[in-house]
């Protein structure tokens, strides 16, 4: 028990410090909300109009499902887990990584907890306000009222967080070999954006794209967008299984890449 408490002391401390910092700078929250409104809010209004033009149904899906699916994507985005790639690159480019490597903590887990801490405050506030606004304006679909919804939503959400951290950590770790990881970051980020169901909800995907979305790590990272559809009730264990598969595979890749990266660093002190 003591060992476990010691293990979680650092993550809790990091998250607490981050929340306190972000709470202090209120304008950052405004910025985060503004970004969500710019992307998600305007998109929802446009979709509302488009669904109305199509008599309320497109590809067998109504606006209610599409709206919640899009909202879940953008709410997940406010966690800002993808920034871990850029932070790792900055650490490598600035040499800060040498200092962090010499600390008695794992660099990668420190960076992951840091990332979770820096987005959690915005995520909680934005998601809470968003859920209230959507519930008030359009209501909940029946699929969100069944018993299995909340537990599986939480499960797939956590799996998505871990998977996203692994994907973007791998991108970040490339900076030990590549001068500038931005082009890799853009491509991976856009793959997640397309296959995750951002501007185009997964219900409107063509058949092939839908399959790629289900079985690729990019789509699996945002499986949370699938939870509002009818198929989730029967498919959820398969989709969470896909997530777990990618978590194990990408976790191993992250581990070995990090090991190789550590061998490349020479701490000279000074």
């Amino acid at each position: 028990m003591k060992k476990i408490l010691k293990k979680i002391r650092l993550p809790i401390k990091i998250i607490k410090t981050q929340i306190r910092e972000h709470f202090y700078y209120g304008f950052r929250l405004v910025a985060s909300m503004m970004t969500t409104i710019a992307r998600c809010g305007i998109l929802l209004i446009l979709y509302w109009y488009v669904y109305r033009l199509n008599n309320g149904v497109i590809n067998g899906t109504t606006f209610l499902f599409a709206a919640w699916s899009i909202f879940f994507y953008f709410a997940f985005l406010t966690l800002q887990l993808r920034t871990i790639a850029k932070l790792i690159m900055q650490d490598v480019q600035s040499g800060n990584v040498e200092i962090l490597f010499s600390k008695p903590i794992s660099y990668l887990s420190y960076r992951m907890w840091w990332q979770v801490g820096s987005g959690i405050y915005y995520f909680l506030v934005t998601t809470t306000l968003g859920v209230i606004a959507l519930a008030f304006l359009i209501g909940f679909p029946t699929t969100m009222k069944i018993g299995v919804f909340i537990p599986t939503l939480i499960l797939t959400f956590f799996c998505g967080c871990i998977l996203s951290l692994f994907i973007y950590s791998i991108v970040g770790l490339f900076s030990f070999w590549v001068e500038d990881i931005n082009p890799i970051y853009w491509i991976v980020d856009k793959m997640i954006m397309i296959l995750g169901g951002s501007f185009l909800p997964i219900a409107l995907f063509p058949a092939l794209m839908y399959k790629i979305s289900l079985f690729s790590p990019f789509g699996a990272a945002n499986m949370v967008t699938h939870t509002v559809y009818e198929s989730w009730r029967t498919n959820w264990y398969q989709l969470v299984g896909v997530q777990l598969f990618w978590i194990i595979l990408l976790g191993l890749i992250t581990y070995f890449m990090f090991k190789k990266a550590k061998e490349k660093v020479s701490v000279n002190g000074g």
Binding site: M34, A38, P183
Partner: protein
């Protein structure tokens, strides 16, 4: 006298841009990766909105070809403004670190000096992507000479609007203590709608994103002007571009007055 001054400033800005490009091109691999990476990155928007049109059908007369044109206009504007004038995007960092002082002390035009202080390599990828998209759009549209000339003119007008909007948004830096994130949020509010399917903007939304936030002026309206040969819309966009340009200059110098130096003795950094 005035002409001589403008020419001098123009010469200086071209010299600064040239030096910035030479500086970026020194790291060849990174330079090329950034340009190619950004061009690939932009294709994702065409894929997304292309599938949207396929699923939803034609809305407001907008086809996949128009989406290509829209992405072309927006990417080209973004590329031109943020390659040559990347310094505008860094205004929040300059003000926070105190390095804004060196611009204030420069005998050159303040806005030109700031804009040309940095070069956005990846924005070159946006430029390449934008030009390719507009060429494809022109061929899909079977564009006449008049339409091609209109496209060139509209790129110029859209660049003026984009630059003005960027100046207005990044000038708000001086009103906040921790401006970087906030200003980024404002910019997102301007850019995101510009990338969305133009035909879906109708009624109140079209009014807001034309007159209050100039998002539709840099992509959606230029596409509609070229497609429909609408000179009424061209006149409206031109007038709005002039208003936004004059407003941006005025707001920028007013905002600069709010600046308080936080110099960390890093003069010249």
């Amino acid at each position: 006298m005035e002409d001589k001054y403008i020419m001098k400033e123009l010469k200086f800005s071209l010299y600064a841009i040239k030096k910035n490009i030479q500086n970026s091109a020194e790291l060849r691999t990174s330079f090329l990766m950034n340009v190619v990476g950004m061009a690939i990155n932009n294709i994702s928007f065409i894929i997304l909105w292309g599938f949207f049109v396929k699923s939803v059908g034609i809305i407001g007369g907008w086809t996949v070809a128009d989406i290509v044109g829209l992405q072309g206009f927006v990417a080209l504007c973004f590329g031109i403004v943020f390659s040559a004038g990347d310094g505008i995007r860094r205004l929040a960092d300059y003000a926070a670190s105190g390095s804004f002082d060196r611009f204030m002390l420069s005998p050159k035009n303040l806005l030109v000096r700031i804009a040309t202080a940095s070069f956005g390599t990846s924005a070159l990828g946006d430029m390449v992507f934008g030009i390719v998209c507009l060429v494809i759009y022109a061929s899909l549209l079977h564009a006449s000479i008049l339409q091609i000339l209109l496209m060139v003119l509209l790129v110029f007008i859209a660049v003026v609007v984009f630059f003005s909007a960027a100046v207005v948004i990044y000038s708000t830096t001086f009103y906040f203590t921790d401006a970087s994130g906030t200003v980024g949020g404002f910019f997102e509010l301007f850019l995101s709608p510009a990338l969305f399917h133009g035909g879906a903007f109708q009624g109140v939304m079209r009014f807001i994103f034309t007159f209050l936030v100039p998002s539709l002026l840099i992509g959606t309206l230029p596409v509609e002007i070229v497609r429909d040969l609408s000179f009424k819309k061209l006149l409206m966009v031109s007038v709005l571009a002039i208003i936004w340009f004059l407003l941006s200059i005025k707001l920028f110098y007013r905002a600069v007055r709010k600046y308080e130096s936080t110099n960390f003795m890093t003069f010249g950094n």
